[in-house]
Amino acid sequence: MTSFTTFYLSGIIGKEVFGADGDAIGIIRDILINASPSGDDNDHGRQLLTGVKLKIKKETRTYSFHTFRITKAREALNVTSSTLVELKKEEAENGMFLVESILDKQIVDLNGRKLVRVNDVRLVTIETGTFAIAVDIGIEGLLRRIGLSTPIKRVLSLFKINIPAEFIIWDDVQAIDYSNFNIRLSKSYAKLQTLHPSDIADILEDLGKKSSTSVFSALDEEKAADVLEELEPHAQVHIIESLSVEKAADVLEKMPADEVADILDELEDEKAELLLKEMDTESSQEVRELLEYPDNLVGSLMSTDYLSFSPGITVEEVIGELRFRKPEPPELYNMFVTEKNDELIGTFNLRDLVVADPKSFVGDIMKKEPVFLYDDQKLQDIAEVVSKYNLLAAPVVDRNEKLLGMVVVDDVVEDLITERKTRKRNKIY
């Protein structure tokens, strides 16, 4: 007896199942696997088969896989079943149907960090059960589906050409199109959370509307905020509009005010107002101020998340404060020194802090007469200032020299790229 049998999903769908007495029972329509990873180390990288959707005469029902046996004799698959035990509704709902949710659908290839279309699923039967082990995304899978794999391979083998097979192992597969949305979503998309926010954003942009919303809603708030920041404007609008106002406001609060202002700018006024009212007052106030600036001025690109200190505190105290506040990386690009009325008098960066004597005062180590931008200066001036003085972030002040925020080089670059993109917008064609 062979210890294992491998087969393809396309090979088993539509097959007739035979009973113990050799009579045909019904036709296989779909098979069910565990939706969430079992956690068992032995099952690493594969997904246990739990049920079979059978069409018996006119009726289609899902039965437990326990009573089924799959064998292979001379390349032909045989499926037999001693008795039929119908699966309980909740058991079926906790699983995922392969034809319904995987075959021909788009999935995320976590290793390649992109969306791919599934041509077939590879399964294996071993002593402990039958498992889904990989999805086939190659040309060979395509040909197999239309029944041309063997003849074409035979012809090509005469010329010593191989059709390369392309598989993604189950560990790297993240299904997207769950048709029964009542399974706990956050768990279903758990694998996706491991990707970088930019990669998740790229994937969301390529997904259909329903799927992108449901994937986004499953992300935790911090991740969701990071992903939203990376999305293209029209995708941002779609996501925000499809979320409930409360949920959308929660996510927006986690984002830097300048990014929020950019998104709200794209929304309709009433919707933006609704979201601002729902957000906590501190965040919404900052956003409101930024929204006042026209698109072509420095103020519109400025971030209001920055760090400023008075000249009289010591380097040691500053570092202590940083440890306590755990600021986002851009806030550390450049830090500011202000007088009581928020007037900017100097700047320093992380290097200045590290090399200074812990007991020295900020006022002594800071660069005096700092380079700055006015909030009502034109956007084009930023690139000039940033490159001339090699700054990662430049302070922004109003005409009274009062510090308002800073412009970060990342945002400048992003702005330049989107400007080029609108000139060369060719995502699809």
């Binding site: 659908k105 699809i428 064609y429």
Partner: protein, 414 residues
Amino acid sequence: MLKKRITFFKRAAIFLAILGPGIITGSVDNDAGGITTYSVAGALYGYGLIWTLIPSFIVLLVIQEMNARMGIVTGKGLSDLIRENAGMKITTLIFLGLLVSNIGNTTTEFAGVAGSMEMFRISRYISVPLVAVMVWLLVVKGTYKVAERIFLLFSASLLTYIVSALMGKPDWSAIGSAIVRPQVQMNTQSLTMVIALIGTTIAPWMQFYMQSSVVEKGLKMKNFKYTVIDITVGCIATVVVAFFIMVACGSTLHPNGIVIEEAKDAAMALEPLAGKFASQLFAFGLFIASVFSATILPLATAFYISEAFGFEAGIDKKWDEAKEFYVLYTGILILSALIILIPGAPLIKISIWTQTLNGILLPVVLVSMILLINNRKIMGAYVNNITQNIIGWTAVVVLVCLSLALLLLPLVSN
């Protein structure tokens, strides 16, 4: 008063932002194949077949509205939806058919380029390779979106057909009565002509193009009425141009019994009857329309096929990332250009076979579309209403009957 004006400007701004997919699709629709078919129909039957434009317009409008609605609601292209819901075998069938018919269509576009440039005494061995290389570079290395807008502007030159038509001094009362009292002759030739007219106005690849453009624009159901206006404008543009081409040829060539086979013949034949200017205008319009469609067709085809079979696609990808897509795109372009350059290539046969294939594919695509758009799992509340279904299914039945009649008539008459 002031408030009213602001909302008017706001509406106008929304409309301008949404504008595009319908009008572009409508313009691409009047390609070399279309111009040829309208010219031939006009020369052969005079005003007799102008009435076909009315049912074509209605069906075109209904179909494109469905495409736009599906694109907006699902955010997915038509090929995605077909692959996900119709299974592998039907998908393969549709897209193989689409590939072959679009190679044929692109060949017709290059025939248009060759023909129109020969009017200006430029050899096809210069014009066709030049245009092919230009188109390839424009798409792969250039700024396609800008090019698309320039083309759209140029496609206004199709309105030159109105001038050409008026210079032929058409008989308006005869046109009127031909539309009001349509006459159908039951023979293979006129039936072929009717199918070709409908097939060229409602080409299967347009449905894929329309839906993808809507998805790419990220339009919303909230502003759907503006999208419908966009589509209507596009459909009217298509039909108006078709009407004037048929009138131009019907009022000059038909009374003189001049039979033509290519659009270029129409341009040349117009010269003694309507003047050199009218003839050159006709040729210029043909050239622009051909280049426009020769740019969009191969690109669109490569894109839908890649989408359906899960290949990476898009011209923002590098060659290595989207090899299948680039091979398809370049292959279609080169193959179509080469066919034109073969001395004595059976261009008329190719164009007839292409249109027949279009005619067979169209009902298949339409049936898939109607099934998809009535699927509540996909469309939710935005499924078709009864009127839309009646028009859709009637179109399918009529098209199938016409195609069947075309196949069976030769057998019966013998």
